[in-house]
């Protein structure tokens, strides 16, 4: 690893390095032998492209590294490269992601297995660098697979898993890996770098097959459709995202076999939930203050657990409803907003309520908490405050369905 400080050599095959989340994904791209990569500057995701640039410059990676003139082109270029059979990588943040929205819309519709990193960033205005999840969430209805990671190791592993799932012929849908701005994109941690042999074993080569745009496979792709066709075409993509749930499970199982790291339930991580009365929920790096606070509260005898959503699309509704039905109350911390939504809650809280409402088991009350917007710190006292309210709800005391935490008021 020329770009990372090698900490120690391990059993010859696996290195360990001190790298950021962005760098971890760059390393995954190198290991996945990605063919075409497009870059365009916007903080904080662009760090991944800076690392990839060095990898290419140092001859450690062979790919077409193209600096586009805007995010729309950035995503369109790799979309077409993928249609022509190339493994591709791309990414953006905040309004950059939104600027690419037209390209983001057509990518799943065309069944393009693009992998993108979203360095989550607040949307303008005001221009802000800090983390908010509304950028990635903006594509949640379009056929994108969406996953949130909370540490560099998970970023690297998930990128490899994402390629395997997205490029599976049963799926052929894009996947966006969300990394919280600053907390993950800009902070270094010790990460195990798998060997090339392991990766080759885990990740088959991308085969566009019958959808390959090549003179040997003369096809017409995406002719304009009218009301006689569009429903059938949408239904096909539903079938693909429905299959994604099972393919993700297969991939994690295979990952554990080859790399020896297990993530338990791929869709969400449970922390100290076995004996918990109530649980908190959230996505991304707010898991750190939450876990710290939970350990503190556990010492005080409070039976609190945490459920961290990894895969937001596909949304493992049945698993989650089954899991949450074990608790007396649930507090969902959203690092996003959904203006005018039911009970003015965040996006995750609203989806958790939907999952529970249609689930078979018990339906504990779900409180929504808006916190950490624009990259504001979610503190341990914030988490304690949230927990207190959830405990009240657990005891049947009415609580506001949505509360803003860490707000000056």
């Amino acid at each position: 690893m020329a770009i990372a400080t090698v900490v120690e050599q391990q059993k010859g095959t696996e290195e360990t390095a001190l790298i950021t989340g962005s760098e971890a994904i760059a390393v995954a791209c190198k290991l996945a032998d990605v063919d075409v990569i497009t870059a365009y500057p916007i903080r904080p995701y662009d760090t991944v492209m800076q690392y990839i640039c060095k990898l290419v410059a140092n001859g450690e990676m062979d790919c077409e590294y193209i600096v586009a003139e805007g995010e729309h082109s950035q995503f369109e270029i790799v979309k077409h490269a993928s249609a022509a059979g190339a493994r591709v990588f791309c990414g953006s943040s905040g309004v950059g992601w939104m600027y690419a929205m037209e390209a983001l819309t057509v990518t799943p519709a065309l069944r393009i297995p693009m992998i993108a990193m979203v360095g989550n960033r607040a949307l303008d205005d005001p221009g802000a660098f800090g983390v908010e999840h509304n950028d990635a969430l903006a594509v949640r209805d379009l056929g994108w697979q969406l996953v949130w990671v909370d540490n560099a190791q998970e970023a690297l592993d998930t990128a490899l898993i994402a390629y395997r799932v997205a490029e599976d012929r049963r799926i052929f849908l894009p996947c966006a890996i969300s990394c919280d701005g600053a907390f993950l994109t800009h902070s270094q941690a010790v990460v195990k770098i798998p060997s090339q042999e392991q990766v080759n074993k885990f990740l088959p080569r991308y085969n566009r097959g019958d959808l390959l745009l090549h003179p040997d496979n003369p096809i017409t792709v995406a002719p304009q459709g009218n009301e006689d066709w569009v429903m059938e075409i949408r239904r096909q993509n539903y079938a693909a995202i429905e299959r994604s749930y099972g393919v993700i499970k297969e991939a994690y199982a295979e990952f554990e076999k080859i790399f020896g790291r297990s993530y338990g339930n791929p869709f969400f991580e449970e922390y100290m939930t076995s004996d918990a009365d109530i649980v908190l929920m959230g996505m991304g790096t707010l898991s750190t203050p939450v876990k710290v606070a939970i350990r503190k509260m556990r010492d005080e005898g409070k039976k609190v657990g945490f459920v961290r959503m990894r895969w937001f699309r596909p949304f493992a509704a049945e698993d989650l409803a089954k899991c949450l039905s074990r608790f007396k109350a649930v507090g969902v911390i959203d690092r996003d907003y959904s203006m005018g939504s039911p009970y003015n809650s965040g996006v995750l809280a609203t989806e958790v309520r939907t999952a529970l409402y249609c689930g078979s088991g018990a339906k504990p009350p779900v409180l929504g908490f808006i916190a950490g917007l624009g990259g504001r710190e979610v503190t341990v006292p914030d988490v304690e405050k949230i927990t207190a309210s959830v405990q009240q709800a657990a005891q049947g005391k009415t609580q506001p369905l949505t509360q803003w935490i860490g707000l000056r008021e």
Binding site: L110, R111, P223
Partner: protein, 390 residues
Amino acid sequence: MGRLFAIEIIYRGIFQKTLARNISRAIVLAAHKEGKPGISFGRYGDSPERNGIPAKSFAIVATDDVTLEEGMAKYEPKDVDITICVDDTLAKGVESWAWYGLQPVNKLLKPGGTLIVTSRLEADPIIAMCHRKETPYEMAILKAIPSFSGLWVYKDDHTDVRILGAIAKILPDLFSLKSVQAAITDEWHDAVKVTSAARAYEKLTTVTVKPTQGNPEVPFKFDLPKWHEMGEGIVIPSIPAGHKMEDPGTHATGGYKPDRNPTFKKFSTRTMRPVVDFDTCIKCTLCWLQCPDSCFDVTPEGLYDANMEACCGCGVCEAVCPVPNCVTMVNESSFHDNASQWVAWRKDKTNYKGWVQEKIKGHGERSHGFRYLGQYEEQVPEMLDIATKG
């Protein structure tokens, strides 16, 4: 439940866009004079109109609002009281933008409904062009040069109001001539147009078309596949490469016949077709090269045979041909099939020569489009003469 009236207007895209809109608007306005509510709309699927490609407009009128809603609940009427066909060559069938397959011009007509056709021809040749229908229907010919008024400048030859007068005669329950005239006055403030409508009302006659009459051919159709039968990724196969042609007599092969889109044939767009005199052809390649529709098959001896399944009748081949009368555009109504002219020529050259002469003599003035400033104005008087005398 009150009564619902549905009227369909089949027209040539772009050329007759304004004409069709005027007619369907005026129908609703005339009905409004009698307190009948109605709506007028173009078929949305046809809306990216192309020159000549058949398109549709509809007018739906009812005796009350609740009944009107019954009509509006459908994307478009499934059966109509009157079909108006503003170009007689459309009688051969309609392949629209919005669906696949050839639709008989009389398809939506209710039993006993009326097909109004604007034409210089008599009823019989037009009945022969229409596909057979299981139930009898009426046909009314409105004597006229089909009104191809173009897009930006409207050639006001009164076709619109004459059709209104005809409707009043055919469907008095919809509206009276008096209401039509009132609506025309409001919309156009033109006494002559009012007279033209009255003239059409007085002169209109209809003939009954029996199920035994008309073109017996079953028009080609297309069945929509199920979602899981369709390719993923919005992918469809390309058109296969073409192949050599075979001479019907000598069975010698050569030349080139391109494969063609099997789901859209485009010939119902045609108002004229090229008649080719193979004896005078100098094989200059221009008709073949300049044809935007790749409709010319290259024969083994290097002649160019306009394929009538693909030709949309633009006339560019005639325009670029350097030999007088070698390629001549002839009105589509003078043909009864899409057979190959080259095959006919190979079978019997003398006979073919006679056929060519017969087809191209008096093949008639080109009726559509805009060729020079002031052309519309020049074309109007003859039509007005027909309109006012009837």
